[in-house]
C-alpha cells in the first residue's frame, strides 16, 4: 500500500492515541514529580512522592499484599483454567458453541454485576450463610466476605476467562499426532500429557499468567465491593488519593509504580505471544 492512503486510514486512531492516551500518561508522570500546595500544582521536579511511598512501611506492605494477591489469583486461575481450556480445545461435543458462550458471557457482563453476584452468595446474611444458619449447622456467619478469601475468590472468577482464552490459543495448535506418537511409543496417557502436551502449552501458560496477574494487581472494584475497603491494594490507594484525598501528585506516583510493573508485564506478554493483533485477548 502506498504511503498516502495508509496514513489517511491509520491517522485518526494514531492521532487519538497520541492526544488522549499517550499525552495524559506523560502528564501523569509530570504530575507525579510535581508539588501540590493548597490544591494548586507547582511544576517542579521532585522525587518526594516516590520517596514517601518507598519509605513508608504501610505502602510497602500494601504493594507486597497486592503482588501476593495477584500471584495467588494467577495460580488459582491457572489451576481452574487449564482443565477447561484442555477440554474446550479437544472436545468434539456438539455443545461446544454453548460452552464458548459460557466462557465469553462473564467477559461481557460488567465487573460490578459479577461482584454483586458474589456479594449475594458470600455476605453475612447472604445465601450460603443464611442457608447454613437456617439448618442450624452454624450459629454465627462464616467470614466469607470482606477479607482476602472473598476477594481472591471473586478475582479468580473475574479473570478466569482471560486465562482460558490464552490457553486455548496455544493448546488447539498442538498437533494431535505428537500425542498419538508418544502413546504408540508406549507412553501412558498421563505421561504423554506431562511430557508432550504440557511442555508444548508452556507459552500459553506464561501468556495467560502474565495477563491475569497484570489484571489482578490493577483491579480495585473487587477489593472495594467484595473486600469492603478492608483488603488494601495498590489500585485502591490510587483511587482514594485521586478521587477522595485529592492528593494528585502522590496518587500519580502510586499509579506510576503500577504503570511500571504493568509495562514490564505487557512487554514480556507481547514477546511471548508475538501476536499483538490476533484474538480478543
Amino acid at each position: 500500500m502506498r504511503r498516502g492512503p495508509g496514513a489517511v486510514l491509520l491517522g485518526p486512531y494514531v492521532l487519538l492515541l497520541l492526544l488522549f492516551f499517550l499525552t495524559p500518561l506523560v502528564l501523569m508522570l509530570l504530575i507525579s514529580v510535581s508539588r501540590q500546595s493548597f490544591g494548586e500544582l507547582e511544576w517542579t521536579v521532585t522525587l518526594h512522592h516516590y520517596a514517601r511511598f518507598f519509605s513508608d512501611s504501610y505502602y510497602l506492605s500494601v504493594l507486597w499484599d497486592t503482588l501476593l494477591l495477584g500471584l495467588i489469583t494467577t495460580a488459582c486461575a491457572l489451576l481452574l483454567g487449564y482443565p477447561i481450556a484442555y477440554h474446550l480445545s479437544f472436545t468434539r461435543s456438539r455443545w461446544k458453541p454453548m460452552l464458548i458462550v459460557f466462557i465469553l458471557s462473564p467477559l461481557l457482563v460488567g465487573i460490578v454485576i459479577r461482584c454483586y453476584g458474589w456479594m449475594i452468595l458470600l455476605a453475612d446474611r447472604g445465601l450460603i450463610n443464611a442457608t447454613l444458619t437456617e439448618h442450624g449447622w452454624i450459629t454465627k456467619p462464616l467470614p466469607l466476605m470482606y477479607n482476602k478469601f472473598g476477594v481472591t475468590l471473586a478475582l479468580v472468577h473475574v479473570f478466569l476467562p482471560f486465562m482460558v482464552l490464552s490457553l486455548t490459543g496455544v493448546l488447539k495448535r498442538i498437533d494431535p499426532q505428537l500425542v498419538e506418537a508418544s502413546k504408540t511409543l508406549g507412553a501412558s496417557p498421563r505421561r504423554a500429557f506431562f511430557e508432550v502436551t504440557l511442555p508444548l502449552s508452556l507459552p500459553g501458560i506464561l501468556a495467560g499468567s502474565l495477563l491475569v496477574f497484570s489484571l489482578a494487581i490493577s483491579s480495585f472494584v473487587v477489593p472495594i465491593l467484595v473486600g469492603g475497603f478492608k483488603v488494601h491494594v495498590l489500585p485502591m490507594i490510587v483511587y482514594e488519593q485521586v478521587l477522595s484525598v485529592f492528593d494528585w501528585p502522590f496518587g500519580a506516583a502510586n499509579a506510576f509504580v503500577l504503570l511500571v510493573i504493568s509495562i514490564v508485564l505487557i512487554a514480556v506478554y507481547i514477546k511471548v505471544t508475538e501476536r499483538a493483533l490476533r484474538g480478543i485477548v
Binding site: 486512531y13 487519538l16 464458548i100 458462550v101 466462557i103 461481557l108 449475594i120
Partner: protein, 257 residues
C-alpha cells in the same frame, strides 16, 4: 471421567454468580434464600420506575452506540493498514495501537481525569465518549484483523484491474468480505462500552452517570434486589450481544479458536 467432572464443576463456578443474580431479581423476598420465596417482578418495576436508573440506562446506551460507531470506523481503517503494511517499526506500532487494551484501565482513567481537568473539559460528554473510544478501538482492530488475515488481496487487485477505482474496490470487495469481523467488532465495542465501569468512574459526574456507575453507587448504600433486577437486565443485554457476535462472525473465529 475426572476431567469431565472437574470441567463441569468449573463451568458451574463460572456461571454461579450470574445465575444467582438472575434468580435474586425474580425472587419476592428482600434477601435471597434457598429455596426462593416466590416469583415477583416488583424489583424490575422498581428499576423501571426509578428516574436515576432510567437516565443512566439511556446515557449508557447512547454512549455505547456512538462509541461503537466511531471505534468501528477508525478501527477498521487502522486494521486494514496494519495487516498489509510492511515497514520498519510495524511491530512497535502494533504494540502501540493495542496498548489501551493491555494497560490497566485504572491507569488510563487516572491519566485522563487529570488531563481533562487541566483542560477544563472534565465530566463532559465528549470526554467520556473519547475515553470509551480509546479503549474499545483495539478490540475492533483485533476482530477485523482476524477476518482480514483470510482475505486475498488479489481480489481487490482484480477489481482494480477491471477498472474499479481503489476506493470503490475497497468498499465493494474488501468491506464485503470482512463485514462479519466489522459487525462483530462493533457489537463487542458496544458491549465493552455499555458495561465499562473502571474508566467511566474517573470520567463521570453527578449529571453524567452511566448504568454501571449508578449500580455501584446504589450497592454502596443498599442491598435490596432492585440492583439484581438492574444486573439481570444487563446480563440479558450481554447475552443478546454474544448471540449477535455468534450470528455474524462465529464464536470460534471471534475468540481465535
Amino acid at each position: 471421567m475426572i476431567l469431565r467432572v472437574s470441567v463441569a464443576l468449573i463451568y458451574a463456578f463460572m456461571l454461579l454468580p450470574l445465575v444467582i443474580v438472575v434468580l435474586a431479581a425474580f425472587n419476592a423476598g428482600n434477601y435471597f434464600t434457598f429455596p426462593p420465596q416466590g416469583f415477583s417482578l416488583k424489583w424490575f418495576a422498581n428499576f423501571f420506575n426509578r428516574r436515576e436508573f432510567m437516565q443512566a440506562l439511556w446515557i449508557s446506551t447512547e454512549v455505547a452506540f456512538w462509541t461503537a460507531l466511531a471505534s468501528t470506523v477508525i478501527g477498521t481503517a487502522a486494521a486494514v493498514v496494519l495487516v498489509r503494511a510492511r515497514f520498519k517499526g510495524r511491530d512497535l506500532l502494533n504494540a502501540f495501537v493495542t496498548s489501551p487494551l493491555l494497560l490497566p484501565q485504572i491507569l488510563t482513567g487516572v491519566a485522563l481525569l487529570q488531563f481533562y481537568t487541566l483542560l477544563n473539559m472534565h465530566a463532559s460528554y465528549a470526554a467520556l465518549l473519547i475515553g470509551h473510544i480509546v479503549v474499545t478501538t483495539p478490540y475492533v482492530i483485533r476482530t477485523v484483523t482476524a477476518t482480514l488475515t483470510h482475505f486475498d488481496v488479489a481480489l481487490e487487485e482484480a477489481a482494480q484491474s477491471l477498472g474499479a477505482h481503489p476506493v470503490r474496490a475497497f468498499f465493494e470487495i474488501t468491506l464485503g468480505v470482512i463485514k462479519p469481523g466489522v459487525v462483530a467488532g462493533a457489537i463487542f465495542a458496544f458491549a465493552i462500552s455499555f458495561d465499562n465501569f473502571t474508566l467511566s468512574l474517573f470520567l463521570t459526574s453527578a449529571q453524567l452517570t452511566p448504568l454501571p456507575i449508578e449500580l455501584f453507587a446504589y450497592l454502596k448504600y443498599s442491598f435490596d434486589p432492585t440492583a439484581a433486577a438492574v444486573s439481570a437486565f444487563a446480563i440479558g443485554v450481554a447475552l443478546v450481544l454474544v448471540l449477535g457476535i455468534a450470528r455474524f462472525m462465529g464464536l470460534e473465529e471471534f475468540t481465535g479458536f
